[in-house]
């Protein structure tokens, strides 16, 4: 467990949908600079957890502290302003804008207010240049002027990451970044995430265990809305309960 105050501290997070308890008292710490992977079977509450961390879903109980401040009551935009950025499990981009416009919007969101009615935004260098640099960083530099909706699926996923990065986040919440990708695209994404790793604090929800083993400093295992184990990849691999509940192995008693 981290010794300094964690960048993100989650305590007793509960979210119910009717009779279903999607997250059932989750405690989680994420230290500055580490990559925490959240794994678990479908319906374990991983995306519900991300939704509560990003501010899209209000929790029924519990608290979320981010960078030393209680952000439990803050809506998503306010959390983004404090340095929490997310990507979506189902690609969420501005489809009719170009890739560069997409990223420039993310830059604009963190470059003062937008009650500006006169100067064209899509030629503002202060927005375009950081946006272009971020696109280069995720490997989309050559695709800057392509309308985002016509990009390949893998490229759209990269664009999601670029938009998150362009907000200059302290914490990246990545919800299944390689979902639906082919082998090549998936490898490219893992390479990208490997570069971000260490330079950014990352909470990664992922099904693909190869990706998890490749990236995670620590792994939290969720089953039925609870974190049943949290530790280094080695510890999780060796954990009998995890193997029984999730990795689906027969474990001799």
């Amino acid at each position: 467990m981290p010794t300094a105050e964690p960048l993100l501290a989650v305590r007793g997070l509960i979210k119910r949908f009717g009779g279903l308890v999607a997250t059932d008292g989750i405690d989680l710490d994420v230290a500055e600079g580490e990559t925490l992977a959240v794994i678990g079977p479908n319906g374990a509450g991983k995306t519900t957890l991300i939704g509560q961390l990003s501010g899209d879903l209000p929790p029924d109980a519990g608290s979320i502290r981010f960078a030393g401040v209680d952000v439990t009551a803050l809506p998503a935009p306010a959390r983004s302003q404090r340095g929490l950025a997310r990507s979506f499990q189902i690609t969420s981009i501005f489809r009719e804008f170009t890739a560069l416009d997409n990223v420039a919007l993310a830059v604009q969101a963190h470059a003062g207010h937008s009650f500006r009615f006169w100067t064209p935004a899509f030629t503002e260098r202060a927005l375009r240049e950081p946006a272009r640099a971020t696109l280069e960083r995720v490997g989309l530099g050559a695709r800057a002027d392509v309308v985002a909706g016509t990009l390949a699926h893998g490229e759209q996923r990269q664009l999601e990451i670029a938009m998150a990065l362009a907000t200059r986040p302290r914490l990246l919440l990545l919800d299944e970044p390689v979902a639906g990708m082919g082998a090549d695209e998936s490898q490219r994404m893992v390479r990208l995430l490997r570069e971000l790793r260490g330079r950014h604090t990352i909470v990664l929800v992922e099904h693909d265990m190869d990706v998890v083993w490749a990236l995670a400093d620590r792994i939290a295992v969720m089953v039925y809305g609870r974190v049943i184990a949290c530790g280094t990849p080695e510890a999780i691999r060796a954990n009998a309960e995890v193997r029984r509940a999730y990795l689906g192995e027969e474990v001799p008693a």
Binding site: A76, A106, F115, A121, F122
Partner: protein, 315 residues
């Protein structure tokens, strides 16, 4: 970045509008002056609706409310002897802008069909308020004793002067609107229409921007209302009736949702059709209906969108 066809159409169209008074004078048909002034007034209303409907994705079905408030803001002061346009017109914009902010503050908490219904309900409330106030004409309305006065500078009783005032206001609106939709503010409301959850995730509190857009559109709608009472020299609560909101919306859809110049084209097409066809039959909407269906089915960006498109749709 607009294509050449669009620029040419735009310039030709505006030039034609500018020359209408000349034609009217030469042919001694002042009727055209009246018709095209009316068209431009509705064009102003349609452009303002499209700012929120097309660019902002806020399907307001109550835009006639602002038209009505603007009309009352001219007629009521006039009723009490205040004829100065410098009082009436700013009052029309401020009051309708404030009303839009209030209506928007409630409506924008909903979306989809609820949003449409709430904006419609607010407009109908104002309509029923209008027909119930006996002092200001109730459902009969009131005659406007005099058109708005601008000292000795502009004499609106002169149809030509009034025409060019409306023309100038329309041009100004298109110019400012063009700046607005490409500036940071416009980009925010366009992107919020495209993908609101994404906007919030990257850090935009979209509500305040959408509300501001709503207020701006309301204020411009109010100006159109002020012009409209001056045009008809009459005030009637029917300016606020929901069918009027529908007509303005039809102009936007016909001309091109999410374009700046499309609604102008839509207002021209709608009111000319009305004028021409209603001479033949009172059931002129029998023709309008199928036409609208065709436009919705085959021209996503309306008549304006039928013009060849450049790399980026931005008109």
């Amino acid at each position: 970045m607009r294509s050449r066809a669009r620029v040419l159409t735009l310039l030709a169209g505006l030039l034609a509008l500018g020359l209408v008074p000349l034609v009217a004078a030469l042919t001694q048909q002042p009727f055209y002056l009246d018709l095209f002034r009316r068209i431009m007034i509705f064009a102003i209303a349609a452009v303002s609706l499209d700012l929120i409907l097309g660019f902002g994705g806020m399907v307001s079905f109550g835009h006639a409310a602002y038209l009505g408030i603007g009309a009352y803001a001219v007629a009521i002061p006039a009723f009490y002897g205040i004829h100065s346009g410098l009082v009436q017109w700013p009052l029309a914009m401020v009051l309708s802008g404030l009303a839009a902010l209030a209506i928007g503050a409630v409506s924008l908490r909903t979306s989809g069909v609820s949003f449409i219904m709430i904006t419609l309900a607010f407009a109908q409330m104002l309509y029923y308020l209008g027909i119930s106030i006996n002092a200001w004409g109730a459902d009969d309305g009131m005659r406007l004793a005099r058109r708005s006065q601008f000292g000795g500078v502009l004499d609106l009783t002169n149809g030509y002067v009034f025409y060019y005032v409306v023309f100038g206001l329309l041009l100004t609106l298109l110019w400012l609107g063009n700046r607005l939709v490409h500036a940071r503010f416009g980009v925010v409301i366009r992107a919020a229409r495209s993908n609101e959850p994404r906007m919030r995730a990257i850090g935009f509190s979209t509500f305040r921007y959408k509300l501001a857009a709503f207020g701006i559109a309301g204020a411009i709608g109010g100006l159109a209302g002020a012009l409209l009472t001056n045009q008809t020299e009459y005030l009637t609560p029917s300016y606020m009736h929901w069918t009027r909101s529908g007509e303005i919306m039809v102009m936007v859809i016909l001309g091109g949702i999410g374009t700046l110049y499309g609604p102008v084209l839509g207002a021209v097409a709608f009111l000319l059709l009305e004028d021409v066809l209603s001479a033949w039959t009172v059931h002129w909407q029998v023709v309008l209906g199928p036409l609208l269906v065709l436009v919705v089915l085959y021209a996503r960006r309306g008549l304006w969108g039928l013009l060849p498109e450049a790399r980026r749709a931005d008109g």
